[in-house]
Symmetry: C2
Subunit: 340 residues, 2 copies
C-alpha cells in the first residue's frame, strides 16, 4: 500500500499526520458524480461494477482523501433479503410493502450473498485493481437496527416511530428480523473482506433514536455480533449517529475505531472511550459551508483536540450535496497540512 | 390552586408523589381532539380562544394530568413577526419565502405582542377561568434557534442544513434574526405570564443539531436571555431535545426545571445538572406503544431513577398520534399510583 496512513491509524501506530476521508465522499458535491447521476439511476450506479468503481475512485483523484469507500448503499442488503427497496423520486428509499408483522418477517430470507450481491464483490475487485495499491478500500454495511428502521417504516423518517413501535409491541418478531439482518450482514462483510476491502465500517445512523437500554437490546447486541465475527479478518469501525451514550461499550467491543458525530467534544470522546481506541470524526458537515479560513481553523482545533495519533479525521456524518468542492478540498488539505 | 403538585415540584419542595403531564398532551391521540381537527384547520384552532381553551382543558378532564399547557404552536411567534407560516397539507409548517439573506432579516419585525398575539392572551384568560384553579397552566415558546430553523429552512427538515448553513456562512444576519426572535419571545412570554400562565417552557427542539460550541453561540445564549428576563416573573422550564451536552449550563441558568429526552439516564441527568435543579421527562414516547404492564414497569423504574422530589414526570418529547388513549392513561395513572 503506497499510502497506508489510514490502516496504521486503525492499528494505533504513530503517524506523521492523521489520515483523512469523508463519509459520502463520493457524492453529489462532486460535479463529475452529478454527470453520472444524470445518466444512471441510483441502484444502477450501485449495481454496475464499472460505475461503482469510477465513483469510488473519483474523490481519491479529485479531493485526495487517504482512503476510498466503496460506492454502494446500505439498502442493497435488504434488497438481497427479499425486501425490495426502490429509490422513489422525491421520496428517497421506498418499500411498497413494509415489514410490520411476524408473518412479514418470515418472508425475509438470509441469502447467499456472493450470489445475490455478486455485483458488489465484482465492484470491489475492479476498484482494488483501479486503486492499484494507492490507498486502502473501506467496505460498509448498515447496522441491523438501522436496516430495520427503513424496513419497517418503508421509507425515511424523522423519528422512525413505526419502527420503534414495532420493536416495542412485537419484540419477538423484531428480534427475529434483527437476527436475520445480522446473519446476512456478517456473511456480506466477510465476503467483502475476501474480495479485497481493507477495513469495514458499520453505520448505525438511527441508533441515537433509542434510549440507552433499548439501544443495547435492539441495536448494540447485534453490532457486537458483527464486530465479533469480523474483527479477526479486518479492522472494524463502528459509527453510531447520536450514540454518545454507547461510546464506552463501543470502545471495548473489539472494534479498531469508533466513529463520532459532532455533538461529542474530543475530550469527552477520549474520556468515554477510556483513551483506548482510535477515534474517527467529527467535523459538522454543515460547517463546510463556513468560509475556507474558518474550516482550516476548525480542522486545526479538531486535531489538536483529538491528537494526531489514534485518530482519523472525518466528518461527523455524510458530506452534504451543497458543499462547494473547494471547501471539501480545503478540509482535506487542512488535515494534510496539520502541524501541532 | 387545588392541585399544586406541579408548582411545588418546580420550587423543589417535598411532594407526596411527582406531578405528571405530557408534552403535546392535547393532541391527535385524543378522539375528541380529532373531531375538532376535522372541523377547524390548525391555525384556526390556535387563533380561536374558545377552541384553544376547549383543547387545552381536554387532557385534564380525559387523562387527568397535573398541569395544563395552552394549546398553541411555536410558529405563531414568527407569524406575528412578518414571517407568514402556513400549515400545508402533507408537508406541515410551510413558508413560501424563507428568510435567507440579511435583507430578508431586515423585513422581520419585533411586534406589539399583546396586539398581534392577542388571541393567545384571550385564550389564556379563558382557559384560566375554565380551569377554575384546578391545575396550573403552562405557556410555551420555541427557542430562537428552533424558530430560526423553520424560518430559514421554510419547512421541517431532518437536519436543518440550510438553517445551519445560513448561520455558518452569514453569522451576522443570523444573530440579528436570533436577537429579534429573542426580544419578541421575551415580550411574548412576559405577556403570557401577565395574562395568567403559572409557568413557561422554552422548547429547543433542534438544539441537538448543533455542536456544543455552535449551540452556545446560536442557541443557548439566547435561551439564557429569555431565562434571565422571565425567571423572576414565573418558573421557567428549559427543554432541549438532543442537548445532553448542555445540561450543566441549563442547570445553572436560573431555570426552575430542565427537561430531558429519553437518551439521558436519570443518574447521568442528576450528575450533569449537579443535583441542583428539578428535572422533567423523559419516557420515550414510542414506549407508550408497549403493553400497559410494561408501561407501568417503565414508569416505576423512571421515578425510582429520578427520585420522587425535584422531579416532574413527562415524556421525553411530544406524545405520538398513534398512542391508544388507554396507554396514555396508564402512563399518567402509573405516576399517580407511584410507591417507592
Amino acid at each position: 500500500m503506497k499510502n497506508d496512513l489510514f490502516l496504521r491509524a486503525l492499528k494505533g501506530e504513530t503517524v506523521e499526520r492523521p489520515p483523512v476521508w469523508m463519509m459520502r465522499q463520493a457524492g453529489r458535491y462532486l460535479p463529475d458524480f452529478m454527470k453520472l447521476k444524470a445518466k444512471y439511476d441510483f441502484f444502477t450506479r450501485c449495481r454496475t461494477p464499472e460505475l461503482a468503481t469510477e465513483i469510488t475512485v473519483m474523490p481519491i483523484e479529485q479531493v485526495g482523501t487517504d482512503a476510498a469507500i466503496l460506492f454502494s448503499d446500505i439498502l442493497v442488503v435488504p434488497q438481497a433479503m427479499n425486501v425490495p427497496f426502490e429509490m422513489k423520486a422525491g421520496v428517497g428509499p421506498w418499500l411498497e410493502n413494509p415489514v410490520r408483522t411476524a408473518a412479514d418477517v418470515n418472508k425475509v430470507v438470509v441469502p447467499d450473498v456472493e450470489e445475490e450481491l455478486g455485483y458488489v464483490m465484482d465492484a470491489i475487485r475492479m476498484t482494488k485493481a483501479e486503486l492499484d495499491g494507492e490507498v486502502p478500500l473501506i467496505g460498509f454495511a448498515g447496522s441491523p437496527w438501522t436496516i430495520l428502521c427503513y424496513t419497517v417504516e418503508g421509507q425515511g423518517s424523522k423519528s422512525f416511530d413505526k419502527a420503534k413501535g414495532f420493536c416495542f409491541s412485537q419484540p419477538e418478531a423484531a428480534h427475529a428480523l434483527l437476527q436475520k439482518m445480522t446473519d446476512t450482514t456478517i456473511k456480506y462483510l466477510k465476503a467483502k473482506v475476501r474480495n479485497g476491502v481493507d477495513a469495514v465500517q458499520v453505520f448505525d445512523s438511527w441508533g441515537g433514536m433509542l434510549a440507552p437500554k433499548d439501544y443495547e437490546e435492539f441495536s448494540w447486541r447485534y453490532i457486537q455480533q458483527i464486530v465479533d465475527a469480523l474483527k479477526d479478518e479486518a479492522p472494524v469501525i463502528v459509527f453510531g449517529k447520536g450514540c454518545w451514550f454507547a461510546l464506552d461499550k463501543m470502545s471495548t467491543s473489539g472494534a479498531s475505531a469508533v466513529g463520532l458525530d459532532w455533538t461529542v467534544t474530543p475530550d469527552l470522546a477520549r474520556k468515554w472511550t477510556n483513551n483506548s481506541v482510535t477515534l474517527q470524526g467529527n467535523f459538522d458537515p454543515s460547517r463546510l459551508l463556513s468560509p475556507i479560513q474558518e474550516i482550516e481553523h476548525g480542522v486545526k482545533e479538531m486535531i489538536d483536540g483529538f491528537g494526531k495519533d489514534r485518530y482519523i479525521a472525518n466528518l461527523g456524518h455524510g458530506i452534504l450535496p451543497n458543499i462547494p468542492v473547494e471547501h471539501a478540498q480545503a478540509f482535506v488539505n487542512a488535515v494534510k497540512n496539520y502541524k501541532s
